[in-house]
């Protein structure tokens, strides 16, 4: 067997991105994937005979530098504007609100005053997110010794801030850590619009719209760029699985060796240095650089082991909050559902059921006490409309991310699952009467299921809450925030690192750059 320079643990999208960047720079890279195929939560799977779906169901932040650096467009990925889809805020009682263009460039269904107010708020949000955007594709700033390049990057951010002009800069600083509910109330009045924005801010988080710092979630979304459109979102041709296939192809084309069904049991550490891995089978593989794209707690506590780490560091890792609140619902339907008020040409849109900010907050409350939301809020896509191969002819796939479904449900998910499923179906029925009768099969993945299936502790797709106190210098923990870790030769490249999760490839890319930039990397 040829020896490798680098072993990457985890063949999810970040692991593949990191491996490919390193291979393109001349390293010999081996990716070890525990499952039988790569792609992680971006994989497409068959959940009912003839019906296929992916956990991650929309592309909205695959980083342009990843697309370019890995030449993904030449491998079949298309970012044609035709694939962009609008967002629709459904309303039980009346007409829905339609946000077309990149995150609502145009607002259909709102009165003119609200359209004007939204245009201002949208511009403001994009402006402010734009200030933070460059910080995402860089290492978090180092608080003490800062390299010239890092200082320069921070200075650029400072300049961008100054270019806002004094009053805008003041507002930027004022609202940075604000709660999204109060922020929206300052200028907007349409409940459907505010509900959608509030939902987007807290999607994937253990926060409600009234929680301080929840506005950051909206910024995170608006730093995402797809097909050149900031705030855009698209249904990838062939589904998310095709994106993973393109990443797979890019890796192999660059000479990366991928082994699947090869779960890693231990990272070998000698004298404070990572020297290789041991698979569950007992096989040992040596390499000078080990990259883990797995969850940071898994990496440090299971694979490395506390005895190679100092107590304070271990404590910090144990304290990472990573209990997820998002469940995924997959429905195999006999036919395409009709959501009230949704025009035919927008059936492929992202449909959001979050009638108001209060509604989202009320949905959040039970999650604090280990209970699920009796009236959940959700974002829905029908991926088979743009990708007919995902369903049998005439049938339809419904893919929904639903909140809140707390990982540590007090009554346990064995008991809770059927009740929560009933609650979601009830909500769907109210917005698409008759849909219940067309369900051939339902797959509800709670955070506990997601944890088991995708090796994501807590079922959390960010591998750790993406909240202010777990960002930047504290992501995943201080001491491992710059992709290198206290163990020499061991690096992190997964969603648990800066800037967070979602199908972006940024942690993987940043980690590769860090490795290549470090002496001996």
């Amino acid at each position: 067997m040829t020896s490798s320079d680098v072993i990457v643990i985890g063949g999810g999208h970040n692991g593949l991105v990191c491996a490919t960047f390193l291979a393109k720079a001349g390293r010999k890279v081996l990716v070890l994937e525990a499952g039988d195929e790569v792609g992680g939560a971006g994989r497409t799977h068959e959940f009912a005979p003839g019906y296929r779906v992916s956990m991650a169901h929309l592309l909205n932040r695959l980083h342009p530098e990843v697309v370019k650096g890995l030449e993904l467009e030449s491998l079949g990925l298309s970012f044609s504007p035709a694939r962009q889809v609008p967002s629709i805020a459904l309303s039980e009682r009346g007409a829905p609100l339609i946000l077309t263009g990149a995150y609502g460039e145009t607002l259909e269904g709102a009165d003119p005053a609200e359209q004007r107010a939204w245009a201002n708020v949208r511009a403001q949000l994009l402006r402010y997110a734009g200030i933070l955007k460059p910080l995402l594709a860089r290492r978090p700033p180092s608080l003490d010794a800062m390299a010239v390049g890092e200082a320069a990057a921070l200075a650029m951010t400072g300049l961008a801030l100054k270019r806002l002009g004094r009053e805008d800069m003041r507002d930027f600083l004022r609202v940075l850590l604000m709660n999204v509910a109060d922020f929206l109330d300052e200028e907007l009045s349409d409940d459907r619009l505010k509900g959608l924005l509030a939902f987007d801010a807290v999607l994937g988080s253990h926060l409600g719209p009234r929680s301080p710092t929840s506005l950051l979630g909206l910024y995170y979304r608006l730093t995402g760029e797809t097909g050149g459109l900031t705030g855009g979102q698209l249904q990838p041709a062939g589904g998310m699985g095709a994106v993973m296939a393109a990443l797979h192809a890019a890796a192999e084309k660059s000479g990366v060796t991928i082994r699947s069904s090869a779960p890693v049991a231990r990272i070998l550490v000698e004298d404070g240095r990572a020297t290789g891995v041991a698979l569950e089978s007992g096989e040992e593989i040596r390499a000078g650089i080990i990259v883990s794209a797995a969850n940071p707690r898994t990496t440090f506590l299971d694979l490395v082991g506390p005895r190679h780490l100092d107590t304070g560091f271990v404590r910090r890792v144990r304290n990472i909050r990573m209990n997820g609140d998002a469940a995924k619902l997959h429905l195999a339907l006999d036919r395409t559902p009709e959501f009230t008020g949704v025009p035919l040409e927008h059936r492929n849109a992202r449909l959001v059921i979050a009638p108001s900010t209060d509604h989202v907050e009320r949905a959040f409350n039970p999650a604090k006490y280990g209970a699920f939301s009796p009236e959940p809020v959700t974002e829905i896509t029908l991926p088979s409309i743009d990708n007919p191969s995902l369903a049998p002819r005439g049938g339809c796939v419904l893919s929904a991310t639903v909140q809140y479904a707390p990982y540590a449900l007090r009554e346990g998910w064995e008991i809770g699952r059927p009740k929560f499923l009933a609650a979601i179906l009830d909500v769907l029925e109210r917005h698409a009467p008759g849909i219940g009768a067309t369900v051939r099969h339902a797959e509800l993945l709670t955070p506990v299921d997601i944890e088991a299936r995708y090796r994501m502790p807590g079922g959390h797709w960010h591998h750790g809450e993406l909240q202010a106190d777990q960002m930047l210098m504290s992501r995943p923990v201080f001491g491992a925030e710059g992709y290198d870790t206290p163990v020499a030769g061991l690096f992190l490249a997964g969603s648990g690192s800066h800037p967070g999760g979602g199908i972006s490839g940024v942690p993987g890319m940043n980690a590769a750059r860090r490795i290549l930039g470090m002496k001996g990397g």
Partner: protein
């Protein structure tokens, strides 16, 4: 007509502190107060014969020792009796006692959990470190990060150096601490519900947030930053009630030549050519002054007392968006005899300090959920003190005054104004909770005053009943308080300043806003501030 050097609007504690410093700098100062009594929310009221109520604020600790010394308050009769004790009662009949002595407190924790007792050392060390970093900020004017004035840059550099002096790991920890919820912070140390509840209470008193809201860990510091007689972290009763503080301030003020007029409500602050010329009282009387300092909250000042056309649009918009939703109520009770709490040992010293009946963070958070829904909490949390256990001046011998601070109360009940029936029902919720832990409690009640945000607004002038004159969230703190660009006590109107809790560093009976505003005013007048002691580190 006489032209005063300065008129201070509102004789709350910050207004009086401000007036004292200005008078001692040689200005001729008039304080006008709408009520017949002075003190704002730091008052002692006799609402039933023989008894005195600290019917708004009720304990003293955060009051800056530098201010006490500068204004010679002990000379003018202020005595603060430090107390220790307090307990959290658990629903199963036990209690967790509070001790100021670290080791005694630790032993008490060990009754519930050895692990938590051990974690307490680490907790105390980590919190103290955070206190050290923040404390200089309280007595300094917040710098404007959008300004390039030498003073602001100098201040930012000072703060930056202080921050950098922490070391990279501590810096990361501090940033983390400032954005965490108190619940998450406590989860990193303790496992016992009642122990966490005991600490969490500090995090949310006075806020419109719950213990699980990000940003509540920082408020914990506020309550550790106080000092009584050089004893750090101590709390105390002002002898004679909280009114003793403002009475001493008023006496100190008058002794140096200051004038106070009560029963004088300001109708308008006069502005001409972008500068203030004085005030007009209801009834039409005009009083001229070169400067006006408003101790009223920022909304009352700029939306009621100053004509809209005198203020820039962007400023008005920000003031209108300034959030000051009230979140608390108060029940003040005159008792015929000392109440019994059978859970405690007889004659327990715990009774001299804060008593609580909320034994878990979850209950606290659920109480907050009620507030969000526009209702008073069905299971409220109370901060109960019986000052008469240490202060004999507030009730006849053998009888007692009990102060209950209650969270949460919404500013409006499900969108409509509080009614008397609401107030009474709310009061009953409180009495009922105390009675659960104190048999025969109801029979001891001689008189009761129930205050909701409605009463706080109507009587004290606290808009929406918010006791801090504005919520303490990130977007309304430091250089954002009360609004960005006007966080240094000045206003868009020349000669008009603000000095109340709406300004940095916020609320609590601290006196820092009033003092800091005086420093800015005297700087603008190019007068010396040698008579103002610089902040000394409490920890």
């Amino acid at each position: 007509m006489k032209t005063w050097d300065a008129i201070v609007v509102g004789a709350g504690h910050n207004g009086l502190v401000n007036a004292c410093y200005l008078q001692r700098a040689g200005l001729d100062v008039l304080v006008v107060e709408k009520n017949d009594w002075i003190g704002g929310a730091a008052v002692s009221r006799s609402l039933t014969p023989g008894f005195l109520y600290s019917n708004c604020s009720y304990v003293c600790s955060l009051f800056r020792p530098e201010i006490m010394r500068d204004l010679e308050l002990p000379k003018y009769g202020l005595q603060v009796i430090s107390y220790e004790g307090g307990a959290v009662f658990t629903q199963d009949g036990d209690y967790l006692a509070n001790y100021r002595d670290h080791h005694a407190h630790r032993r008490e924790f060990a009754r519930f959990s050895k692990k938590d007792a051990e974690a307490y050392d680490r907790y105390a060390r980590d919190v103290t470190r955070q206190c050290r970093f923040i404390q200089p900020l309280l007595m300094r004017t917040a710098p404007d990060p959008t300004s390039f004035k030498p003073r602001d840059i100098g201040e930012l550099v000072y703060l930056g150096r202080k921050f950098a002096g922490l070391g990279a790991r501590e810096m990361a920890d501090t940033l983390r601490f400032w954005t965490m919820s108190i619940s998450d912070f406590l989860d990193e140390y303790f496992e016992t519900d009642v122990i966490k509840a005991n600490f969490a209470l500090s995090g949310i008193i006075g806020t419109a947030l719950g213990p699980m809201s990000p940003g509540t860990a920082y408020v914990l510091l506020h309550h550790y930053m106080g000092e009584v007689d050089g004893s750090v972290g101590a709390w105390g009763y002002a002898r004679g009630g909280m009114g003793a503080i403002t009475r001493a301030l008023a006496d100190s003020f008058r002794a140096t030549g200051g004038t106070i007029r009560t029963g004088a409500e300001v109708e308008q602050i006069l502005v001409r050519g972008g500068r203030t010329e004085g005030i007009v009282l209801t009834g039409g009387e005009e009083i001229r002054a070169r400067l006006v300092v408003s101790n009223a909250d920022v909304k009352r000042t700029f939306l009621k007392l100053v004509e809209e056309k005198e203020l820039p649009d962007i400023f008005l918009r920000r003031v209108r968006n300034f959030r000051m939703r009230g979140s608390s109520g108060k029940v003040n009770i005159a008792l015929d005899s000392m109440p019994e709490f059978p859970a405690l040992p007889p004659d327990s010293p715990c009774l001299r300090a804060d008593l609580h009946f909320t034994d878990s963070v979850e209950r606290m958070e659920r109480a907050y959920d009620d507030w969000k829904a526009g209702r008073w909490s069905a299971d409220p949390f109370l901060d109960v003190v019986i000052p008469t256990t240490l202060d004999p001046t507030m009730a006849p011998p053998g009888k007692h005054f009990m102060s209950c601070f209650v969270q949460y109360c919404p500013p409006k009940v499900e969108g409509r104004d509080w009614t008397d029936a609401d107030r009474d029902a709310f009061g009953e919720t409180v009495i009922s909770q105390i009675a659960d832990y104190s048999p025969g409690f109801r029979d001891r009640i001689v008189h009761m005053e129930v205050r909701t945000p409605r009463e706080l607004e109507a009587e004290v002038g606290l808009t929406e009943g918010n006791i801090f004159q504005g919520e303490l969230t990130f977007d309304q703190l430091l250089f954002n308080r009360p609004v960005p660009g006007y966080a240094q006590y000045r206003s868009p109107v020349g000669g008009l300043y603000i000095c109340g809790s709406s300004t940095h560093p916020g609320g609590g009976v601290m006196g820092a806003p009033g003092r800091n505003a005086a420093a800015e005013i005297l700087r603008d007048l190019k007068r010396g501030i040698e008579h103002m002691s610089p902040a000394h580190d409490v920890i």
